[in-house]
């Protein structure tokens, strides 16, 4: 593509981004705001494609626009079911015009400082150091996609902590209450669409996980796609939506963190640095960690969409394992208690698969 048409494309894209952001934030109607935010996310995914960040584009389309939008829309629906949309704002008065101007000036100042810092960083000569370090060590990372190499090898710490953040968020959601009641069964058209869509989404998730080693993709995109399959099932009125029940669900929730930690600690015991994979094993270890992470991410996102403890699934534990009722009454505490056992179980499972 020649430069003038590319510049025109950039201009159109950036104008769409700013106007969609403005429109999503200016409206007082929550549903309209969420739908405009989803459109904003999709246009943003185009921008990631334009800036040669296909990994980020995939994640943005699946998570940023897709699942965030589904979460927010479900919340809007729940609020409007409980009360009329406007009543929720009744207690709050709009800020005074003077306050609005002060805040606007403050935000303009923040934008100015950010812009100045950004333009300074473009001129600095040291900015390529990290990129060169990644390029120099890519051969020993076990994968050939540099983004996966950074996420699962060079900066594996960050990803481990990110999975811990996900687990913490879902425990917080569990502590806040029970899942939303399910949806009605869908009509035949949506139901047959779901029959086609769900297997395709599961296949796509597997493909994204595998291909992440050498092309755009990986555990995050795969987990989000898997979660999307469950959201489709949920919208079609299915109650179990592919989530396992009871202790298996808890195992899946902690699988990502547990396998990651187990690999790290094992390497430490073998005299290597924490999460410092031997180059010969790096590819296999990354695939094992990513498989567990995909399952955890998918389960977390689905549980977030349910919006609380899925009561039917926790109760199934009681029946299957004869856990005393007192234990099922405090399910938020259970995943931590069982994480020790989880580590071994999941690890065996993962190793036998590879």
């Amino acid at each position: 593509m020649n430069t003038p048409s590319l510049l025109a494309f950039d201009g159109l894209l950036l104008i769409s981004i700013v106007s969609l952001a403005w429109a999503a934030l200016a409206t007082r109607d929550a549903r309209r705001s969420v739908i405009l935010f989803m459109a904003f996310g999709l246009v943003l995914a185009l921008a990631w494609g334009r800036l040669l960040a296909p990994d980020v584009a995939l994640a943005e389309a699946a998570i940023g626009a897709g699942l965030s939008g589904a979460l927010l829309l479900a919340a809007v629906g729940g609020q409007q079911g409980a009360r009329s949309g406007s009543a929720q704002n009744a207690g709050h008065a709009d800020p005074q015009p003077a306050v609005r101007w002060a805040v606007t000036l403050l935000c303009a100042g923040v934008a100015g400082i950010l812009g100045w810092a950004l333009l300074e960083s473009f001129d600095s000569s040291a900015r390529d150091t990290l990129a060169q370090a990644v390029a120099a060590n890519l051969a020993s990372s076990g994968v050939s996609n540099p983004v996966t190499a950074v996420l699962l090898n060079f900066r594996a710490y960050d990803t481990l902590l990110e999975l811990a953040v996900l687990l913490t968020a879902v425990l917080g959601i569990f502590a806040l209450g029970q899942a939303r009641p399910g949806y009605r069964f869908a009509g035949p058209v949506f139901d047959s669409l779901a029959r086609w869509l769900v297997p395709l989404l599961i296949l796509t998730a597997g493909h994204l996980l595998w291909v992440g080693a050498h092309a755009p993709g990986g555990a995050f995109q795969a987990g989000a796609t898997l979660a999307a399959a469950a959201v489709v099932l949920r919208l079609a009125g299915h109650s179990h939506i592919g989530l396992p029940a009871g202790s298996v669900l808890r195992l899946v929730m902690v699988a990502g963190v547990a396998v990651f930690l187990l690999v790290g600690v094992t390497l430490l015991a073998l005299g290597r640095p924490f999460l410092g994979y031997p180059p010969a094993w790096a590819g296999t270890l990354i695939l094992v960690i990513e498989s567990a992470a995909m399952l955890s991410i998918a389960a977390t996102l689905v549980l977030a969409f349910l919006g609380g403890r899925p009561q039917a699934l926790w109760q199934a534990t009681g029946a299957a394992e004869s856990v005393p009722p007192a234990a099922t009454a405090t399910p938020a505490a259970l995943p931590e208690d069982s994480s020790g056992a989880a580590t071994h179980g999941v690890c065996k499972e993962e190793q036998s698969r590879c």
Partner: protein
């Protein structure tokens, strides 16, 4: 310095400011959550612009990895915030 890099980067700054303004001024909790998400997207735009090296040149993968992590953390924070809002509205006697 590339034109696209500063165009996208400065748009990111603008989006951060728009999101911050709405997060401070909006009274409805749900729209505040949307505003914080828009603000985060502005930061991602700045980071991806920093990583860009021009057409046909491999971009810096480190900011890409940071943004991927950021997207997942943002969705989990959004989910927790929404659960908090839902609980707040479910409490008896709230305004």
């Amino acid at each position: 310095m590339l034109t696209a890099q500063w165009l996208y980067g400065l748009t990111g700054c603008l989006v951060v400011a728009l999101g911050l303004r709405a997060a401070l001024l909006q009274s409805a909790l749900l729209q505040r959550i949307v505003a914080v998400n828009v603000m985060g997207s502005g930061v991602f735009l700045m980071l991806i612009a920093v990583a860009y090296r021009g057409p046909g040149v491999a971009p810096d993968p480190v900011p890409h990895a940071l943004v991927l992590t950021g997207i997942v953390v943002a969705v989990s924070a959004t989910a927790l915030a929404l659960a908090l809002v839902r609980r707040l509205h479910a409490e008896p006697g709230d305004g």
